[in-house]
Amino acid sequence: MTNKLVIENLKHRWVRTLLSAAAVGVQVTMILTLVGISFGMLDDLGRRSRGAGADILIRAPGSSIISLSTAPMPEKILDFLRTIPNVAIATATTVQPMGGTNTVTGIDLDAFSRMSGGFRYVKGGAFQKPDDILIDEYWSRQYGLKVGSVMKFWNREWNVCGIVEPGKLSRVFLPIRLAQELTGNTGKITSIFLKLQDPSQTAATIAAIKQQLTDYQVFSIDEYVSLLSVDNVQGLKWFIYVVIGVAVIVGFLVVFLSMYTAVLERTREIGILKSLGATPGFIVGILLRETVILALTGSVVGIALSFATRWAIMNLVPGSLTQMIVPNWWPIAAGISLIGSLAGALYPGWKAARQDAIEALAYE
């Protein structure tokens, strides 16, 4: 009978019910979208890092594992690394911003091809002229670029000379020398990739490198990819916490206002229930059940909306961010919205429970 009253109450004010559920849904979407982008970007980075075909990755001392650009290491280190036993190929990249969150990666095409097994060209071929760049299929599809298309960045026009299969380190490539020269980073590199003669000796090789490059970050590729988690990226975890906090406040306020209005509107009904002998707990229980239904409905809406945001990011903002659908976070986001919603229902519930029955029955 209580559930019937709860459902009928929600149906009676269906516009408010839908709006409240939608607002809770937005809260859930905020969380799922942010988490999905974080996971998606890291997963994408991990897969492409593996695709480079290297066994060891070296980054500058103190640099973040996902720093997107800068060239803080001297290129001369490559000469030293090539002297380390078991190192078959040592090649470097420079990663530079090309606008927004997008980057372009400078590579030594020959060395990179030997390390990764070489690009598979879907269309076109390798660099021929000084203004040639390579893009992957994803980039080509997202921006509608073909071989011969022109891309503009760094105040220059670039000619797409080839489209390669995705999954190898980056999405946009140009020769490393050109990238260093045009960005004023001659002799400087962002990352170093090592291919080993015997990958089973990776740990021993890393130990040998660390003896000389004591402050540098030297990872096996497996270790590096395993570090690409939210917990290991400086600031990202706290950024997610802040967004979750904002989402909780939004959910709290939405449900607070919705339930506060509901209690005011239903003052007389609360009086009627009290005249029938309903306890304060019974009346609070009705509001809390309504809140739970709103939060759960909102969570389903939010999960559905997270697919919509993924579609929008993929289709309306080409080549920008990668959003993953993270089902593990569905119950977490739903739980967060439920907590925020229940917190929002507490004061209205308390107000309803303390409502004077006589005043409530006289309420117009």
Binding site: N9, I272, K274, S275, L276, G277, T279
Partner: protein, 230 residues
């Protein structure tokens, strides 16, 4: 003292003082009242006479400032809020001037809600089916209040009030919102209920014609009972 009579209600020296800011307003100034089990009593009086306050105290909706209020042997005067809630659930049924049905539930569910709150199984079988026939709303139970006329709503409210077989049925101006024809129907129903089931009824009214349906009428003024007569 019950003088050998079976008093369902025994009120002695009942006072109620409302505090409005720094001002104290005495709504009841020492009321003594006995009502026997099975009686149909009307309480009449002008606005401000204290009849509604008496109604609320007898129904466990308000507390007394002083005095003794025994209903079915239980003293409401010293009860906590939760104890008075139990009294409303177990001993009293209310009928209000404005019907006060839950608008989102059907007539049947309004009745079912009263049963649910009282911890009794839902259903309209047995004696209650006869009561519904008497009230003439058996065929309208699936409708929500907005689809019922005022008279029908009030009859559903009466059905809800008696479904748990309360010791006392309290009716506050039950015909106040009804036309003459429906008023007569409702008053006759209350009288029939009293006669056929022995339901004790206390009805607040300012209408002498309505009061005439009761066994006796208690007149109030300025928070006191003036007289009690047939």
């Amino acid at each position: 003292m019950n003088n050998g009579k079976d008093h369902l209600i025994a009120v002695t020296g009942l006072k109620k003082i409302y505090r409005m800011g720094d001002v104290e307003v005495a709504a009841l100034r020492g009321v003594d009242l006995n009502i026997e089990r099975g009686e149909f009593v009307a309480i009449a009086g002008p606005s401000g006479s204290g009849k509604s306050t008496l109604f609320y105290i007898l129904g466990g909706l308000a507390s007394a400032t002083a005095g003794k209020v025994l209903i079915d042997g239980k003293d409401l005067a010293g009860m906590s809020d939760s104890e008075r809630t139990r009294v409303r659930r177990e001993l009293v049924g209310f009928v209000f001037q404005k019907y006060n049905l839950l608008p989102t539930l059907s007539a049947l569910d309004n009745i079912g809600m009263a049963q649910f709150i009282a911890g009794k199984p839902a259903g309209t079988e047995g004696w209650f089916r006869q009561a519904l026939d008497l009230l003439g709303v058996g065929h309208r139970l699936q409708h929500k209040p907005r689809s019922l006329s005022g008279g029908e709503q009030q009859r559903v409210a009466i059905a809800r009030a008696i479904v748990n077989q309360p010791a006392l049925l309290l009716a506050d101006e039950p015909t106040g919102n009804l036309d003459t024809e429906n008023s007569e129907i409702v008053l006759k129903l209350l009288r029939d209920l009293n006669q056929k089931t022995g339901q004790t009824i206390l009805m607040i009214t300012h209408n002498p014609e309505a009061a005439a349906y009761a066994h006796r009428t208690i007149h109030m003024r300025d928070g006191r009972i003036l007289e009690s007569g047939a």
